[in-house]
Structures are given as structure tokens and as C-alpha cells.
């Protein structure tokens, strides 16, 4: 890959409006995720963060606007082209999304069986390696219901990186975890991102995670129903022109009173 390609926009969102029927969730979203970014979608509860992620994943269709991956429209692509793009992604869902009727090993082997030509024995080795990467070596034959919430998140991560993806999507990866597990998970995400050279897009409102690993971010506002700021969260914390964003990132109510 050329040097020019390294800085190109991996994901570009253009004039995106998301709506459920006539209820508009967010409008006029425009932002770019660069190759190698750890990009955070943040905002208050119920502002449409997860909905935006579902649009990026193609699970929901936009009301208007377009989403481009490496310069190619995803919204206007055929189902087969969309599928080809999706094979380069790894995704973990808010509740993990592991198949509850399958063991961890089966969960991780499924994408490998579908999209690679590894032999069964090789797949077994790769599964063991991916589980070891997330600190779950030896848990192959456990079902998702038999392990703890934090382990489930890591197992979902192992499945997401099964195919060595270009882009990793996370929906609230550290929600519901204790501070230590959640910082370990952050570290894991950041290490995997660096060693895989992947781009990470994540939905979260955990400030420690945001400051620890994010390189770029967008803030979705609940009351104006659009994005009101965009940039490195560490910069936005002190220099955002929007009081709400500073208040969010400083975890205080001061800016709110100032505003009203």
C-alpha cells in the first residue's frame, strides 16, 4: 500500500440523516475516519450513537446521505459488494453478540470456516491463538453463558479479529465492566489496533477509555439532533467551542448552568 493511501479516509460519512419513520434521530452528519484512527462516537444517552453504528454497519439504511468506505459508496453498493466490504470488518456488539448455542471455539471458527480455506486442524490452532490473544486460552469448549461478562466481551473481540480485519467496530466495549477489566480491555484494543494496523470505530461514553486511546471523535448532541463537535477528544476537553462538549468531557454540570 502506498504512503498516500495511509492517510486517506477509510470511512467517510456525507450528509447522513438517520430516522425511524418520521422520527429524525440525527441529521447532517459529516465526518471522516482516517486509516489507523481510533475514532470515538460519543454523546449523551439516547442521542443515537448505537443507531449511527448500525448505519455504518449497514444494518439500518440512511434516510438521506451516503457512507463511503475507502472512497466507495456502501449505501449504493449491491448486496454482494456490501458483503465483500463487511468481510474486512470485525464487530463486537453491545451485548457481545456471541452465538449462545455455540461454544467459544465454534463462535470463532465460524467466520474462518466461511471465508478462509484453512484446514480444520489449522482453524483449531488459529482459534487457540485468538483466544490466547484476548487472555482466554483454554476456554475453547465453554459456552458464552458459562463465562463472566468481561470474558464474554473479550471472547467477542476474539471473534471480531478472527479474520484480521481492516476496521474494528465496538459498541460500548467496556460498559458494565469494573475499572480494572475495562482498562485492560482498552489496552487490549489499543495493542490489537497497533499490531493489526486496523482502524477502530467505537461507541462509548466512558471518559477514561476515550482519553486513554481515542485519536479522533465526533460528539452527537441530543437536543439539536446533529453533531456539534469533531476532533481529538483531549483537545476538545479544553478547547471545544461548545460548552456541552466541554461539560461532557470534564464530567461536570458547570457548563450546563453557564449555558442556561
Amino acid at each position: 500500500m502506498s504512503a498516500a493511501a495511509d492517510t486517506e479516509a477509510q470511512i467517510e460519512v456525507r450528509e447522513l440523516t438517520m430516522a425511524y419513520g418520521s422520527l429524525v434521530i440525527q441529521r447532517d452528519l459529516n465526518f471522516i475516519v482516517k486509516r489507523g484512527d481510533i475514532f470515538v462516537i460519543m454523546g449523551g444517552s439516547g442521542c443515537g450513537k448505537s443507531t449511527l453504528l448500525k448505519h455504518l454497519l449497514g444494518l439500518l439504511a440512511p434516510a438521506t446521505g451516503d457512507i463511503l468506505y475507502s472512497g466507495r459508496s456502501f449505501v449504493h453498493a449491491t448486496a454482494d459488494q456490501q458483503q465483500a466490504m463487511r468481510q474486512r470488518w470485525g464487530i463486537t456488539y453491545q451485548s457481545g453478540g456471541l452465538f449462545s448455542a455455540m461454544t467459544l471455539a465454534e463462535n470463532i471458527s465460524l467466520p474462518l470456516q466461511l471465508y478462509t480455506r484453512y484446514r480444520p486442524a489449522e482453524i483449531r490452532d488459529i482459534v487457540a491463538y485468538k483466544l490466547a490473544l484476548v487472555g482466554l486460552a483454554g476456554y475453547q469448549s465453554y459456552y458464552p453463558a458459562q463465562i463472566s461478562g468481561g470474558m464474554r466481551k473479550r471472547a467477542a473481540l476474539a471473534r471480531a479479529i478472527a479474520l484480521d480485519p481492516d476496521i474494528l467496530f465496538f459498541d460500548e466495549p467496556s460498559a458494565g465492566l469494573d475499572p480494572i477489566s475495562s482498562s485492560l480491555l482498552d489496552e487490549l484494543i489499543s495493542q490489537l489496533q497497533q499490531s493489526l494496523g486496523a482502524t477502530v470505530v467505537m461507541v462509548t461514553h466512558e471518559l477514561p477509555s476515550i482519553f486513554a486511546i481515542a485519536t479522533n471523535s465526533v460528539y452527537l448532541d441530543n437536543s439539536t439532533r446533529t453533531m456539534i463537535d469533531y476532533g481529538d477528544p483531549r483537545h476538545l476537553r479544553d478547547h471545544s467551542k461548545q460548552p456541552v462538549v466541554r461539560q461532557f468531557l470534564n464530567r461536570s454540570a458547570a457548563a450546563h448552568e453557564e449555558q442556561s
Binding site: 468481510q87 451485548s95 452465538f99 466461511l114
Partner: protein, 377 residues
């Protein structure tokens, strides 16, 4: 008796310019200080431009007081009345500040639906048409998936098929045995009582054999399977929906129909004819037992039953079992995949699966019977 003083409020010195609202006493549960609506009526009459709330005479309070004052604040904001709240306990003013910090959410106006509207025939027809077209679309998807399976390109796992066969088959033996024996007995009993009036008890054998093979054996099996397996499919897929598993399948590039619906449907189609055969056998035995107890000799009964027994009747029953199996699986899987994400929605999906499956069964059974009667089978 408790030693609380009686709580209450009064609107004093009401002029178009200004009014005083005086609050007094212990605003605690069980003391009934009066509701805001009373005050609202008084305010609407005098309609002052400014309102002063005086709380110096307040005693103890619980949630009643802030709830009352919140309505007061909202009303004054709405009517553009200047509000000045004085001397109320510090806790109350703090709670009031917190509860007025966020502007109340304006619920979008929804059209009201009355019972009459719900029962409107046009609407019913439209719903029915929508339901029918959705079912057909789903059936189309399933057909395409079957074609892909036949061409070897579908992501259907054989191990899933095996598991579902086991769940649908051997696990259902006990309940199928019970229902089919009893239905055979009921059939024989009803028939014997009626036929005896004409001295034709011996035809009970025909009634039981033909009735069981063509109709009751397969229908009872199908109803049991709709309640057992159809509901289980809906609940499984519904909880997968609420656990983001179906999203994960879609984004992994797997067709949910191939991966989830096909193995379940094929398992049910493979198992239903076998269960039906088993139910037929037990049904006929149950009928024979009743006939025997009503004074028909075994040899007579067997001879008559042998005459009635034919591969046509058996074939009709087995053909129906294939159709019913597909219908039960489609109803169950469709309700599950379209289920909402809450636990209540999963329950609804299971209910819907059973109800639609039974409707499908009865309609299909009637249609097949009419068709065969026209053709003369």
C-alpha cells in the same frame, strides 16, 4: 393518631396583578393537602401576572410537596406567570431545581385508536393483506435459500440439522403417544354410539382407520408440534434477536434464513412424517381398544379395518404432514426473526408463532381436503 398538623394551601389577595400562595402544615402521606388542580382552577379565575409562594408555615414534607410545586412551576411557565418562591425548606428548593433542569419531553401526538377503529373492516383487511404479503415474502426467501442449499452454496450446518431433528423427534414421543391414543379412542367412541342406532357398529373400524390416517393423526401431531417446536423456534430466534446475535450473523455475511431457518425447517419436515406414522399407529390401536370394549370382536374388527386400510389414505396423511411441518416452521421462525428486543417481545413472538401456525394448519387442511375431494382422491 400522629401529631402532624393539617397541611393545606390558600390563594390570598388575588388581583389581576399579584396573588399570594400560602402553604402550611405537614405535607406528608395520608394527610391530603389538596391537589394542584384545585389551585389551577382558582388561578385560572383570577389570572394574576405574578405569584408569590410563601412556605414559612410549612412543617414536615415528603414527595407530595415537590410534586405539587413542580406542577405549579410548569403551569406558571406555560401561562407566563412570574413566580417567586420564598421560604420553602431548602431541600425542597434543591429538588425543585434538579427536577426543572431538563425541559419536559414533548411526546409526539399519536392518533388515538378506539375499539371501533380497531375493528374497522378496511383496516382488518389491510392488516391481513400486509400479513399475507409478508408471509409470502418470507416463504420466497426460504425457497431461494432451499435452491441455494441444493446448489451447495448455502451456509447451513449439518450439525444444527441433526440437533433440531433430535429436539423435534424423540423428545416429542411421550406427548404424541398420549394425544394420539386418546384421539383414536374418542373417534371410536363417538362413531360407535352413533352407528349403533343403525346397527352398523362394525363400520367404526372404517371410521377410525380412515379418520386417523387422513385427518386426526396428522392434525393432532401438527397441533402438538406447533405448540412445542414452533413456539420453541420463535423463542430461540427471538432471544437471539435481543442478544444481537442476528445482527452478528447478518454482518458476518451469513443469511439468517440459510443459517437459522433452513436447518429448523428441514428438521421439522424430516421428522413430522415419522411422528405422523407413529401417531397413526397409536390412534388406530386406541380406536381398536374402544371398539373391543363395546362388543365388537377382534377378528371382525381387524378384517373390517384391513379393508379400509389403503395406501391412498396413508399417503394423503403423510403429504399433509410435510405441508404442515413447513407451515409450522415458517410461522415459528418468522415470528422469532421479526421479534422485538425485549423479553416481553420474545414472549409475544412465541404466542404469535403458535396462533399463526394453528390458523395456517386449519386453513391448509381445509384447502387440501377440498382439493382432494375435487380430484377424487
Amino acid at each position: 393518631m400522629d401529631e402532624h398538623t393539617t397541611p393545606g394551601f390558600a390563594l390570598l389577595d388575588a388581583t389581576p396583578d399579584h396573588a399570594r400562595l400560602v402553604l402550611a402544615g405537614d405535607w406528608v402521606q395520608g394527610r391530603n393537602p389538596g391537589r394542584f388542580q384545585t389551585l389551577q382552577a382558582q388561578l385560572r379565575l383570577s389570572h394574576p401576572r405574578r405569584l408569590t409562594v410563601e412556605g414559612a408555615a410549612l412543617g414536615e414534607w415528603d414527595s407530595l410537596l415537590p410534586a405539587f410545586l413542580l406542577q405549579c412551576v410548569d403551569y406558571c411557565r406555560e401561562q407566563r406567570i412570574e413566580l417567586d418562591i420564598r421560604d420553602i425548606p431548602e431541600g425542597v428548593s434543591r429538588l425543585l431545581a434538579v427536577s426543572t433542569a431538563v425541559i419536559p419531553h414533548q411526546q409526539p401526538q399519536r392518533p388515538r385508536t378506539s375499539i371501533v377503529q380497531l375493528l374497522r373492516p378496511a383496516r382488518l383487511l389491510r392488516n391481513l393483506a400486509g400479513e399475507l404479503s409478508e408471509s409470502l415474502a418470507f416463504l420466497g426467501e426460504v425457497t431461494l435459500a432451499v435452491l441455494r442449499l441444493l446448489s451447495g452454496r448455502a451456509t447451513t450446518r449439518l450439525s444444527d440439522f441433526r440437533d433440531y431433528c433430535y429436539q423435534a423427534g424423540p423428545d416429542a414421543f411421550a406427548i404424541i403417544s398420549l394425544t394420539s391414543v386418546l384421539v383414536g379412542m374418542i373417534l371410536a367412541y363417538l362413531g360407535a354410539v352413533q352407528l349403533r342406532q343403525f346397527g352398523a357398529e362394525i363400520y367404526v373400524a372404517d371410521l377410525v382407520v380412515i379418520g386417523t390416517l387422513r385427518e386426526m393423526g396428522v392434525l393432532m401431531t401438527a397441533v402438538v408440534m406447533a405448540g412445542r417446536t414452533g413456539a420453541a423456534y420463535a423463542a430461540q430466534l427471538g432471544s437471539m434477536q435481543s442478544n444481537d446475535e442476528i445482527d452478528a450473523i447478518v454482518t458476518m455475511g451469513i443469511s439468517p434464513v440459510e443459517f437459522l431457518v433452513l436447518p429448523r425447517m428441514l428438521a421439522l419436515i424430516a421428522i413430522m412424517p415419522l411422528l405422523t406414522l407413529y401417531a397413526d399407529l397409536l390412534g388406530m390401536l386406541g380406536g381398536a381398544a374402544v371398539a373391543g370394549s363395546m362388543g365388537i370382536s377382534w377378528t371382525q374388527y381387524l378384517a373390517q379395518a384391513e379393508d379400509a386400510l389403503s395406501f391412498t389414505h396413508l399417503g394423503v396423511g403423510l403429504l399433509k404432514s410435510l405441508v404442515f411441518a413447513a407451515l409450522i416452521a415458517v410461522a415459528g421462525c418468522r415470528s422469532g426473526i421479526n421479534s422485538g428486543r425485549s423479553s416481553a417481545a420474545v414472549g409475544q413472538a412465541a404466542t404469535e408463532a403458535v396462533v399463526t401456525a394453528i390458523v395456517y394448519l386449519i386453513v391448509a387442511d381445509a384447502a387440501i381436503n377440498i382439493l382432494f375431494q375435487q380430484v377424487g382422491i
